[in-house]
């Protein structure tokens, strides 16, 4: 299973909302500053189909839910940043378990990509040597 180019674009917008850049004096990098698309490509090449279906469903629901969630007739990635965050937070605090799990799923898996980058960890203050993840290394070699 693979994400299409437009699904990946939607996903990266969601990730940039969950993990924005320049939101902390030391931690400048957000998801958009890391090659997190390669991470998700690796996840989609490796993980079983059922959780991947869950991630894909979460991407679609978040993309097309703004009308229902904040009353804006727009797809998620076309919204201004504050509205995107409002959508994610509203879903994330929903009393319906499957609904609040959708942004949580992307936050959890996306965090594993974004926050594993050595540069991000350095900004967080991690003062021990950490490896470049294998998925990022493979893409370094390719590029």
């Amino acid at each position: 299973m693979k994400l299409t180019a437009f699904e990946m674009h939607w996903l990266l917008t969601i990730l940039a909302t969950i993990y924005p850049s320049n939101a902390h004096p030391r931690l400048k990098s957000g998801a958009a500053d890391t090659p997190v698309q390669h991470f998700f490509a690796d996840v989609f090449a490796t993980a079983p189909w059922l959780p991947l279906l869950g991630i894909r469903a979460a991407i679609w629901v978040i993309t097309f839910c703004p009308l229902l969630v904040i009353g804006r007739f727009s797809r998620f990635h076309k919204l201004p940043e504050p509205d995107r965050l409002r959508v994610i937070e509203t879903l994330g605090h929903s009393n319906l378990y499957p609904v609040r799990e959708m942004p949580m799923l992307i936050k959890t898996i996306g965090g594993m990509g974004f926050a594993s980058m050595p540069d991000v960890q350095k900004q967080i203050g991690v003062d021990v040597a950490v490896d470049m993840p294998a998925w990022a290394q493979r893409n370094e070699v390719r590029s």
């Binding site: 969950i18 965050l85 936050k107 974004f114 203050g125």
Partner: protein, 509 residues
């Protein structure tokens, strides 16, 4: 052990369409804490032994410090294995040469005496498992796996803070006994210990067995136990490629003496069911038990640096009789990021201060019982739903943990519970949990330590194996993993799984 050892074969190298055959005195299915311990005994006694393992061999030079590399390489379903109930509850297992010992926290416990007594009195285990026989094996395991509490200099602040809290509250607690040599305090046990300090089975008992002539076939999934003349006589296996798909090659293993199934409480019942073993009892795949749990995080003024110290270095069993156990759970930023509350700039603020965050977990000796069976699309179907009483205990446990966090000096606590504030600043605020429903959907939980899907007892009508671990249905076929445990234990089971597998193997030599 970075160069592939002799006689450790990667079955995925076998040519497609070819059936490879081999024969030994004993065939062992699974190479985790049960299978490897059995191999240690069988090979040590001079018998010929073959271990078959579905997962890959994971040499040290391939290991990385990040979590996803470990998940994709050696965790079952890339870390996505879940049990279905009211929640999708992650059920964590390894899938590699060395099994879950490659990815566990290296925590060592002996079976609590009341649990052993229950097994003896209510399940007719009687003389098969006695305190003295278990103690003898535990002592040997301790010596061979270098079990000891970690020294203070590698403990790390996450662990030390729990000690401070426990001492302040008069809570009985201890530095965790771990099977580690020369721990470098890298806090990456769950990422397969890239430094190779954890004494996992791939670095200890399996090399021991290989040196004595045993063979290991990795990337080979046991499909069926075969029998001849009413006795287990071998195992038929499908060879898997790196992506988990069949290569088209087959592996047929023949056993002169016995087959030992040690594939875990999730995989063992599937194999038994596929082989038609244990049908009469109606117990195969049923009575799945576990230790579900959840965690809280606390923010401290002084640095905590969870990236330094034993991943899980401190615990309290003070509340064991109330069916709960607390332990530290150090996680790296890529795992902690998701556990911190909020989204957007607020979340990033918290990630930026991750160096001041501690995380401790509560696990419950749950009364819930689930089921494992083959899924409709050929995978594994696990159903497991915590009871209201289990959730009630978890709520009490997390509240106690929160109190301990504040006792240790936390400025604030992230409960991580739906229906509670994202961040609280006093122990009193945690009382809000009392008004929440006993519903697993309010937590982000996980379950580790699975038991009981091929239970042992003297009564063939109610169990799959007898107290010696031998299948009631099929002589010569033994089950030696935690699927035979009649109940869960309330403490980490790896050491006891090894000890019981050791005793079962001893009876074969």
């Amino acid at each position: 052990m970075s160069q592939r050892p002799e006689r450790l074969y990667d079955a995925s190298d076998f040519a497609a369409g070819v059936t490879h055959t081999d024969e030994a005195d004993v065939i062992i299915i699974g190479s985790g804490c049960a299978g490897a311990a059995a191999a240690r005994v069988i090979a040590g006694a001079g018998l010929d032994c073959i271990v078959v393992e579905e997962g890959p061999w994971y040499p040290l030079e391939k290991r990385r410090s990040d979590t996803w590399t470990s998940f994709r390489s050696v965790w079952r379903d890339s870390g996505f294995q879940v049990a279905r109930g009211r929640t999708m509850l992650p059920m964590l297992q390894g899938r590699a040469v060395g099994g879950s010992t490659v990815i566990n926290g290296a925590i060592v416990h002996r079976i609590p005496e009341p649990i052993l007594q229950t097994w003896q009195n209510e399940y007719g285990i009687g003389d098969a498992l006695t305190t003295s026989s278990l103690t003898r094996v535990y002592d040997t395991l301790d010596a061979e796996l270098s079990v000891k509490p970690g020294p203070d200099d590698i403990l790390g602040q996450n662990n030390k803070l729990m000690r401070i809290a426990a001492e302040k509250g008069g809570i009985r607690s201890n530095v965790i006994q771990r099977n580690v040599i020369g721990c470098e305090a890298f806090a990456r046990c769950l990422q397969s210990c890239p430094n190779g300090r954890k004494q996992s089975m791939d670095l200890t008992f399996l090399p021991y067995a290989l040196q004595r002539g045993s063979r290991i076939y990795s990337m080979a999934r046991a499909d069926r136990i075969v029998s001849q003349g009413g006795r287990a006589s071998g195992v038929d296996c499908t060879v898997l490629a790196a992506d988990g798909k069949p290569t088209g090659a087959r592996l047929q293993l023949r056993a002169r003496k016995a087959v030992i199934v040690a594939a875990s409480a999730i995989q063992t019942p599937l194999l038994l069911a596929a082989s038609g073993i244990g049908k009469r009892s109606g117990q195969v795949g049923r009575r799945l038990q576990a230790h579900p749990g959840s965690s809280i995080m606390g923010v401290f003024k002084e640095p905590v640096h969870m990236w330094f110290g034993a991943t899980q270095g401190y615990e309290t069993t003070h509340y064991w009789a109330e069916k709960m156990k607390f332990e530290t759970v150090g996680v790296p930023p890529e795992v902690g990021a998701a556990r911190l509350p909020g989204y957007g700039p607020k979340l990033m603020q918290r990630i930026g201060e991750f160096g001041h965050v501690a995380q401790w977990g509560a696990q419950v000796r749950a009364e819930a019982m689930g089921r494992v069976k083959k899924g409709i699309f050929g995978g594994t179907s696990i159903t497991y739903d915590q009871t209201n009483a289990d959730i009630g205990r978890l709520k009490i446990g997390l509240k106690r943990l929160s109190n301990m966090m504040f006792d240790a000096g936390a400025v604030s606590v992230f409960p991580g519970i739906h229906g509670m504030p994202e961040e609280i600043y006093s122990p009193k605020e945690f009382d809000a949990i009392d008004h929440l429903p006993d519903d697993p959907r309010i937590f982000h939980g996980i379950a580790s330590h699975m038991f009981g899907t091929a239970v042992m007892s003297a009564d063939p009508a109610k169990s799959v194996v007898n107290p010696m671990g031998e299948c009631h249905d099929l002589p010569g076929c033994y089950v030696a993993d935690s699927s035979i445990f009649p109940t869960n234990m309330g403490v980490n089971p790896a050491h006891t799984i090894s000890a019981i597998a050791w005793l079962i193997a001893e009876r074969l030599v």
